[in-house]
Symmetry: C2
Subunit: 379 residues, 2 copies
């Protein structure tokens, strides 16, 4: 039998979900306001607003399950879909991920360390909050921030700076968050399926620039068993607290060898793209298995991998594919500055092999400057 | 840019080609007389006869390359497509693969050992030919045999038996071929790309029943470096002799530790399905890379794999996916006796792990009886 999976959003994440599901003879239907949405090439595209009841009904029609590829699905749409059939991840997880304050409170409730913060919604509250959490601090909108948008750095902590920063963000409810002197950024990707089965991928080391993910290394270099266990534990605590179904990413900072949770993404995640070639089962396939109640696949890594985002424009396919172990993913999106239009995963057997291959890839594709040898793994 | 690839035939091989090409943002168009062809779920389906000039033109329209997923493409259609744009593998390779006599002569010309044979087309010629090559022998139609069809075993070698056998096959031109007391069946899958670049996958051990492939083990257990080198050499000789482009499979017998070539398939091949999860680059991706003139990907194995065909009906997805390392492929075909409707690849790190996983899979899916421990690899 051919199950239909509905996906709210037709971007590259939806597209990669479909590509993972096609071998299993799943069929995909996407809802997206953009008639040129990249997922349209791999499934049926319902073009319309995410709030449109008719379009939502068309998406859910006959679907074995409906899922989302981004967390900012309107709450009313999620509830409407839930009334029409099985949906996952659960709408309350969306609500938490949509609001940095709820997210922080979830971390606190689960005793998961996170950066100090204060909720603020008045101009005069920002300066004092910044001074309370420590400078420099960061003012962030509670809602609709992504890829580094919706943030302002507070350097001085004065009342004037605070009021101006809040005005710059539109005066919406915000958090002031302590800047964390982190050693590195890591993410934990876990999945929870039927009967509460859980599995967690090896932690990934992420490199951002301008708030946008540039490169992931998986498993994270110098990943101790204790750090992996700690990441897996906090991820599972969140999965269970939310009675979750599907893939969840938790972005973390490593500070003094420990993990501070930063935010959650209740969906497949950019820092998990390496799993397509680099893990026994990709995050995309596991998200589908979870939603259909099928057993989860192994989350073990196969060798080591680096994933590099292609931002703005695509590299030359011929040059990328000449790099041993390179796998090119092109999303079918029009070029635009800083837009994620594809990615390259380089797989290798070990850190030494990966280092050599990345050096070759760097002649083809701009790689971010890495603080230290990116492939000094395992040591 | 999004390149379009045209494929003559819309079966599971075309479908898997497309699934391999979608991450690269290739788009696919298939020509198939069956409006329910499985590849229709993953690309545009042009429904029509393989001989129809209009449908052939529709297939080739704007395509960067046109390829075939089966070798019995009518020669006139292949030539017509060649006049419309780039096609691969080259039509002369189809002509060889379509005729067992041409195939044998190619092997002989390239000094590749193969079973003794005689071409026959008259009833009175069959008996003497069978006695000449040695009994039992096998009468095979020169054209249009596949999955064990178009063959009759000659046990006694009498003139009467021979005449009756030829009549049973419709009196068409045939070969009488010596039965080979083989130790096992192996296949060699190679690929040739632009600038004559070649790569060959590890040899695969195949198990057939009733002429239909049941199970492949990759790399073949007990695969010596000498045997691999010998298989690779004969494959490369054929690739070069045919000025080939794309993936080619050579089916062989192992006899007294040496390889006898049996037949060629100028296309992606059932015994190469394991490469999707079990090799650095799948046969499907490499066939596309070759056709587009891109560098070939590594053909190295990742661990060990077993591929099991699902014949007639599909197993329960839930049960298959509960087997560690199992990857399920469902082709979207209606069930029918002995029809290839899907396959399962079980991947493992080593022979011991594969053995355990196959034992678990055997409780879900009928596995063929194997003469000896299938996973006694490497030893």
């Amino acid at each position: 039998m051919t199950e239909i999976v509905g996906v709210v959003g037709g971007g590259q994440l939806g597209r990669m979900l479909a590509i993972a599901g096609l071998p299993l003879d799943l069929r995909f239907r996407f809802l997206d306001p953009d008639p040129a949405a990249p997922a349209g090439a791999v499934g049926e595209l319902v073009v319309g607003a995410y709030e449109d009841p008719d379009r939502l009904a068309a998406l859910a029609q006959g679907a074995a399950a409906v899922t989302w590829e981004f967390e900012n699905v309107p709450a009313a749409s999620a509830e409407r879909l839930r009334a029409l059939g099985p949906v996952y991840p659960p709408p309350p997880a969306l609500a938490v991920a949509q609001d940095r304050l709820q997210e922080k409170r979830l971390f606190e409730r689960l005793h998961i360390p996170c950066a100090a913060y204060r909720a603020v919604d008045a101009p005069e509250a920002v300066g004092p909050a910044a001074r309370a959490v420590g400078l420099p601090a960061r003012l962030k909108t509670r809602r609709l921030g992504y890829d580094g948008r919706g943030q302002v750095v507070l350097e001085r902590g004065t009342d004037a700076e605070g009021a101006a920063a809040l005005a710059a963000l539109g005066g919406v409810p915000c958090l002031v968050e302590a800047s964390v002197p982190f050693e590195r950024e890591l993410s934990v990707i876990g999945v929870r399926g039927g009967a509460g089965r859980v599995a967690v991928y090896p932690l990934v080391e992420n490199h951002h620039a301008g708030g946008i993910l540039q490169l992931s290394l998986a498993p994270a270099p110098r990943l101790s068993a204790a750090l992996q266990a700690s990441g897996a534990a906090l991820c599972v605590r969140i999965l269970e607290a939310l009675d979750y179904r599907g893939v969840l990413a938790v972005e973390c900072f490593q500070v003094a060898g420990r993990l501070l949770a930063s935010e959650i993404a209740p969906r497949v995640h950019n820092s998990g793209h390496w799993t397509i070639e680099g893990a026994e089962t990709s995050q995309f396939e596991n998200h589908l298995r979870a939603g259909l109640g099928w057993p989860l696949g192994s989350t073990a890594a196969r060798g080591v991998s680096a994933m590099v985002n292609c931002l703005g424009t695509l590299p030359d396919a011929d040059a990328v594919l000449a790099v041993p172990g390179a796998h090119l993913h092109r999303y079918g999106k029009a070029p635009r500055a800083q837009r994620k239009v594809g990615h390259v995963t380089v797989a290798a057997e070990d850190a030494g092999g990966l280092r050599a291959r990345l050096a070759q890839l760097a002649t083809v594709l701009p790689l971010p400057a890495l603080g230290r040898d990116p492939a000094a793994a395992g040591a």
